[in-house]
């Protein structure tokens, strides 16, 4: 079981929850289950999302395996100059 923290406007898509517990091995699985549980998340996933695992931010690599007990943050996708 992973504890996933939400930030920014993602919280409101999950009914205001700051943390949610979810069973997932990879980023892809995590995001799929998230949308199953919170359909409003779909819009955010379409717009782009980043996943921080133990402080490392992944924007694209959805195959990434999430270690047991890792700190997982969902962040909105960022842009740079």
């Amino acid at each position: 079981m992973l504890r996933v923290s939400l930030s920014g406007s993602l919280r409101s898509a999950a009914g205001g929850a700051e943390n949610i517990d979810i069973e997932a091995q990879s980023i892809r699985e995590l995001l799929n289950r998230l949308v199953d549980r919170y359909p409003l998340m779909r819009k955010h996933l379409d717009e782009g999302i980043a996943v921080s695992i133990d402080g490392e931010i992944y924007r694209d690599n959805w195959a990434k395996i999430i270690p047991e007990g890792a700190e997982v943050f969902l962040l909105p996708r960022i842009q740079g100059g």
Binding site: G8, S12, I57, L75, G80, G81
Partner: protein
Amino acid sequence: MAHDTSYTDQKFNVVGTRVKRPDGVDKVTGRARYGADASAPGQLVGLILRSPHAHARIKKIDTARAEKLKGVKAVVTSADMPDLNVGNRDLFAVLENCMARDRALYDGHAVAAVAAVDMNTAKQALKLIKVSYEKLPHVTDVDEAMKPDAPIIQDWVFTVGVEPTPKKPSNVSMRSEFGHGDVEAGFAQADVVIEKSYKTEQTHQGYIEPHACLASLGPDGQGELWVTTQGHFVFRNTCAALLGLEVSRLKVTSSEIGGGFGGKTHVWMEPVALVLSRKANRPVKVVMSRDEVFRASGPTCSTSIDVKIGATRDGKITAASAELRYQDGPYPAIWGMLGAMTSYACYDLKNVKTVGYDVLVNRPKVAAYRAPSAPMAAFAVESTVDLVAAELGMDPVDFRILNAAKEGTRASYGPTYGPIGIGPTLEAVKNHPHMRAKLKKNQGRGMACGFWFNFGGQTCTDLNVGIDGSVTLTVGTIDVGGSRAALGLIAAEELGIPYDMVKTNVADTASLGHNDMTEGSRGTFSSGMAAIFAARETIEVLRQRAAVMLDVPVEAIEWKEGQAVATGLEHSNLAPLTLKEIAAKSPTTGGPIAGHNEVVADNAGVSFASHICDVEVDPETGATRVIRYTVVQDAGKAIHPDYVEGQFQGGAAQGIGWALNEEYIYGKDGCLQNAGFLDYRIPVCSDLPFIDTQILEIPNPNHPYGVRGVGETSIVPPLAAIGNAVSNAVGVRLNHVPMSPPRILKALEEAANS
């Protein structure tokens, strides 16, 4: 093949040296070709007609007279650019920004375009297009736009991020909240609490090269685009999606780029050029004027920010909060959110809360500008940090060191940091001779910190060995400031050959797989990673070929210092084979020798900087001069130190311009009044001192060489560092950027009167 991206404390031969760039001679002789420097047989001149109103309904566009003018080959309006992605608001926003539909949303919004045989004819044709406008109420100020009675800019925008979702449309497109702990409880523990509000004005990236492209699109749906861009693959995908083309049939070639800083990450007139070309069935060249660049491309947000920080007598911050209001132009974006994420990233805070608002106004669509959103937030936070330190009677550097984030700190935007450089940059500042230099009358010193995320992204790179043993490295990330030299160093390092044997090229979209843009400080980080892996794959091929040539098993071949060496006593009589020798025999040992890599280069490694600045303020005129400036920044590993220093210096100079002079000035009519370099004054050579740099190298654990992005962070601290320096010089706190002479005089006058 998957490669390990972990940092491995490798010893370097050529990485870290200051070699000459491969495009140097072309660029000092005028041969290098930029966006406006390409031509095609039969090309037409394309020009764009733009709205003179801040907000207006477009009732009718009559193009008949323009179309009849001799020499005019195509006239285009939104009717020629229908929405082919119905329901996709993001793509629609891009399309509508390229060509207005029923409404012009800002002064400078494109409403029609022409292609004609020459410039004079095209100019004449623009004058013959008759647009009937009905002026609508407009709003250009971020705080005004948030008021309940402000004119609504997009009726389909409902504030995201609030519960329940509002029923009424709003100019606030998004509310984003970040943080942890309990700020109210934290403020209650504080001995000192400082609250202050700040404003920053809108600035432009100010690249010297205007947007330019040469488009050629046939009725068969095949086309080519030569364009100045930070990401030709992304431009290709966007143009193809907007115009209903197949990605593979549109070849985009990136010209040399004359500066971008984020402004060339978006398409502006390129899709229009393609549509003009398709309609005329001839190549069309479109080059923006400087006026168009200012009015219709690029700028960053203006902002309005409230900050509150509380600390105990012994100097520990107990709570920090901020409300950040950023205007995005007429389309929803994430700039306020980024301000909220970055504002307190330098600090280790138990209780922190930031709320960002993204707000629509009648100004040009905002584009990324170097560490987008972070400089304004840093101005507000770092100014307040100085105020708190002063109130506590503490040295501002010591106060920051005491509260700095470190490995294991939970960042204000969420995750926990790995090894980071904020502490070391602050220690370097504390020990820097600059901090002990004497100041004279009317002079003041300030310092400030800054943070930027950096990111990686999709990258695809080829490495080919020529028959003579020279190496071609082919990358798909645009070189904005010397990255070809840095990437050549990396390939040479891995292969164990001299730098001069490697030539790095940027490929067009038909020659390489997709690459994300050069943005987020990713160029050298991500293409460097791909170059390392492509070189390592090449070495595998070289070992196999050497094994064939020496008649030994491949396992016995080691690659050492540019040579294949057969190991083991039984092979001790075999002379090593050089890359040159293996390459010469390649036709008969299996054909071309190449390596290749596709990677999603995540984890670019967050980056921190601390700047020191001395200014002299003339109390009579309010004019400020920067007399000394020092940048300390963590680069992870500086591949080519000259170009790392160049990024540090360039970002600082842009920040100095922003802090002291640059601003978009809007009239009551909502029109931009200073769309030119005369009235929008960027720093010139005589405005600046030498900008000293100190590169720190705290390896990024997620890159084989430890590289972090270096391009953006340097623009984050200057607004605040200069604000602190000016405030220390005049004894009055400045809270409005730019700190232009009239604003400084006004602040002095108000202080004298109070």
